[in-house]
């Protein structure tokens, strides 16, 4: 069973030990199903293991209910795993909030809720910088502007509130905020899925370019195979809580080994595409 083993991904060892090591991750939710007295166990994540090298980029692909978002939330520390370990830089997630959290940051899907509506862009960045750096007020502002430039915004945006920004601009600010903590791992959970096509392209190119400039590893969670290809080196495909296939992104997209991956690829619309019916029940 492929999902139970640990997937060696990426080049053998160019950049030292993996920054993120996930081993045997399992998450069980207790739910009470309809018409039944007992609580049932819903296994959302089952035996997920992978490594992410420093400055690497790993995609997690799957449909809704595949467990991909739960994996991301466990790694970020927003959920506790039922079993398994997450090592960041070789050590388990620290109990101390502040130390643990700055190492792993996350950008969420919905651009309309990812920023505090009452905070200006600069205040949001400044708050994070004040917690994590020792710089004074002017130093922090300089750093905040640097971050804004990095994500394609500038001084004109610093005093705006989120409601004056478009969806794409908000996701850029969310990325800047995450980077302000100086993370080693940046989790992007469907971070471009809610954007219009023309804006999605802008943010994808930004993410690809940021990787060449700063030392940060991406964990890119998405349902969209074409999008994953733009920003990742390696990919794992998840289905019903398990990893069904893992390997270099290009290889998975061009010659998928697993049946489910093939089905996923076949379902992507393209000219001449004939959608097929499978008695799966939806």
């Amino acid at each position: 069973m492929i999902s139970q083993q640990h997937h060696q991904l990426g080049p053998a060892d160019p950049a030292g030990p993996p920054i993120l090591q996930v081993r045997g991750l399992r998450k069980v939710f207790k739910i009470r199903s309809e018409g039944s007295r007992r609580t049932e166990n819903l296994v959302a994540v089952d035996g997920v293991s992978f490594d992410l090298p420093p400055s690497g980029s790993l995609g997690i692909v799957g449909e809704s209910g595949s467990g991909k978002t739960t994996v991301a939330r466990i790694i970020a520390g927003l959920e506790q795993p039922s079993a398994g370990t997450v090592l960041v830089g070789g050590s388990p997630l620290a109990r101390r909030r502040r130390r643990r959290r700055r190492r792993v940051q996350m950008v969420f899907q919905d651009p309309y809720s990812s920023l505090d509506p009452r905070q200006t862009i600069l205040a949001g960045l400044d708050e994070v910088l004040r917690l994590h750096t020792k710089s004074g007020k002017s130093g922090r502002r300089a750093r905040a502007l640097e971050l804004l430039h990095q994500v394609g915004l500038d001084e004109r945006h610093e005093n705006l509130r989120p409601r004056s920004l478009s969806g794409g601009q908000r996701q850029r600010v969310a990325i800047a905020r995450a980077l302000a903590c100086g993370p080693e791992v940046l989790i992007l959970d469907e971070a471009v899925s809610a954007l219009d096509v023309s804006v999605q392209g802008q943010v994808l190119n930004l993410l690809a370019e940021l990787r060449t400039q700063i030392q940060v590893a991406y964990l890119f969670v998405s349902h969209d195979l074409a999008v994953v290809q733009q920003v990742t080196d390696d990919t794992i495909v998840m289905h019903r809580g398990r990893v069904v296939e893992a390997g270099p992104t290009d290889a998975i997209l061009t010659s998928p080994a697993d049946d489910y991956t093939r089905r996923l690829l076949a379902a992507v619309p393209r000219p001449g595409w004939k959608p097929s019916r499978r008695a799966d029940g939806g």
Binding site: I31, R32, S33, E34, G35, R37
Partner: protein
């Protein structure tokens, strides 16, 4: 089925907790009922004797338990001010309060719901209903009582200003002004809620779907607007009945009606705690009954709650 049991269980728990709190609070109140009972010239011996006789020397939990077991059997002890059994005191008054509340409920149902649904017949009535309901809600029961007395009893002389009346017709005549005073702000509240929920449902996507399928408008209104708007209205009705019972205290005092409410006020002033306790508990039972019934009705109306109560 399990959700029904859960709702009933919650209601029973609420009642028990409420009785404990009210009993405890009154027991801890300053003042000694035995001294009061014995009268001003009582000797310490007599007081001690009375204390023993009524079990006041026993520890609080024991007293609570014996009160509770008595209460379930309709025995609420002796009234200090009337020197008679509380149950006997309450027996003739309970129906009066019930009639008043029932009368007011009918008024609320007819006028409140009627007013609230008017705007769905003609959008032009929307402002009228909003303003009427908005002002109506702000009129306290005792102000409504006085205005009704001033206009309909004193100026027009259509109804008597005070008293209970005899015979069914006499009772209805005497209870009309009190019932309208009691119903006034609650009818306005129900009108406002039903107007708002009908309006909200009319803007829902599923109503657009129904209209887009070419269904006749009365059918869309009945099956998709009114049916869904009924759920918040039912919830509010439960609160309304609870509020009516509380309001009856004020109305009975204002009109000098001999019901439970006026007796409660009188007993609080007279520090007649057994009566206060008994009436409070009867009122709490009524509130819990009203909210429980509306919870059950809600359950029957909304399949999603039936499902989520299970999960």
């Amino acid at each position: 089925m399990r959700s029904v049991l859960r709702i009933i269980g919650t209601a029973a728990g609420t009642l028990l907790a409420a009785s404990l709190v009210i009993y405890g609070a009154l027991a801890l109140a300053p003042g000694d009922p035995a001294t009061e009972l014995a009268g001003p010239r009582a000797t310490p011996r007599l007081i001690a004797q009375i204390r023993h006789q009524y079990g006041l020397d026993r520890p609080l939990p024991v007293r609570y338990w014996s009160w509770l077991t008595g209460a379930v059997h309709g025995n609420f002890g002796i009234s200090l001010q009337f020197r008679e059994s509380v149950s006997a005191l309450l027996a003739p008054r309970l129906p009066v309060t019930l009639e008043l509340v029932a009368y007011a409920s009918v008024i609320i149902f007819v006028f409140g719901l009627g007013l609230g649904l008017l705007p769905s017949l003609s959008a032009r009535l929307n402002v009228l209903v909003t303003v009427t309901a908005g002002v109506g809600i702000a009129v306290p029961t005792f102000v409504a009582a006085l205005v009704l007395v001033e206009v309909f009893a004193l100026k027009l002389g259509w109804f008597p200003a005070v008293g209970t009346g005899t015979g069914f017709a006499g009772q209805v005549e005497h209870l009309t002004l009190p019932a309208f005073a009691l119903a006034f702000s609650w009818a306005a509240y129900v009108a406002q809620i039903s107007r708002a929920s009908v309006r909200e449902q009319q803007g829902r996507e599923h109503v657009t779907t129904a209209r887009g399928r070419g269904l006749p408008s009365p059918l869309v209104f009945r099956r998709h607007v009114l049916r869904n708007a009924a759920m918040p209205i039912v919830t509010v009705s439960g609160l309304t009945v609870a509020g009516l019972i509380a309001g009856s205290i004020v109305v009975e005092t204002a009109f000098g009606i001999g019901g439970l409410g006026s007796l409660l006020v009188q007993s609080v002033s007279a520090k007649d705690n057994n009566v206060v306790l008994a009436i409070s508990m009867i009122l709490v039972v009524a509130f819990v009954l009203a909210t429980t019934l509306s919870d059950l009705a809600h359950l029957a109306l909304d399949p999603r709650i039936r499902a989520s109560a299970r999960s």
